[in-house]
Amino acid sequence: MQRILVASRKGLFTLSPEGGEGRITSHVFTGDPVTAVLHDPRDMTLYAALNLGHFGVKLHRSDDQGSNWKEIAAPAHEEEKGKPPPDPMSGEWPPKKEGPSVEMIWTLVPGGADQPGTIWAGTLPGGLFRSDDKGESWSLNRSLWNQPSRPHWFGGGYDSPGIHSVLVDPRDSARITLGISSGGA
């Protein structure tokens, strides 16, 4: 069945052909910004990334072609263990936490044909995350995050830099190419 999935600031629309034209046949996450949508051609699973603004980044999955959606784990940075909080009775002003937090999922991409269940997520502020269990859990690609050049990346349209494209080489799933705005490829 042909269809077009449209991720918009007002939800996720599905358009299906009818009489030579596209007709909206589904509208879910009404009113919520959907920043990325993925139809995984390997197992027909759908993924929708939301940015709820006040309430952060969320990820939903549908295992039945969009009839039902379930919120699953969203990519997230590990909580950094810094200085412990002060005794609340000490009067000492607590330090600030400086660690990163995912601001947006910009792209969702399936892994290779030989990697069932593997999903890549490109995010702001520049983290590349991988899931090997259809989005139930995620891990940050630390070698990219720790790249010496990363502090020089900067936002292109957004306040923070982000990974907008992930291309998995169909000849070798271990080889991926990224597009970073703004940080090159």
Partner: protein, 89 residues
């Protein structure tokens, strides 16, 4: 135990999470709340456990001072409110 009330805007995402929970600080009260409702945590706190930028927590009528570690003290009969900013013109 402190009483925790969440903004009604969160109900469509996390259900009615209003409850009572023990703890000497906001962090410990919320930890007890999130233990019972794990999904709620990511809606209120960011990846580092800070209060999300456009969310605010009040203990009775005062906003929490420590948005990073939530070390503000809580008394047994206090009320904690989880609110969000409204945007638009």
């Amino acid at each position: 135990m402190a009483r925790i009330t969440f903004t009604g805007h969160l109900r469509r995402h996390i259900g009615n999470a209003d409850t009572e929970a023990p703890g000497p600080t906001v962090a410990e009260v919320l930890a007890a709340v999130f233990e019972a409702n794990p999904k709620a945590r990511g809606y209120v706190l960011d990846d580092q456990g800070r209060v999300r930028k456009h969310v605010n927590l009040f203990v009775n009528d005062a906003p929490v001072a420590d948005r990073d570690y939530l070390s503000d003290p809580v008394a047994d009969d206090d009320e904690i409110y989880v609110l969000q900013a409204l945007s638009g013109g």
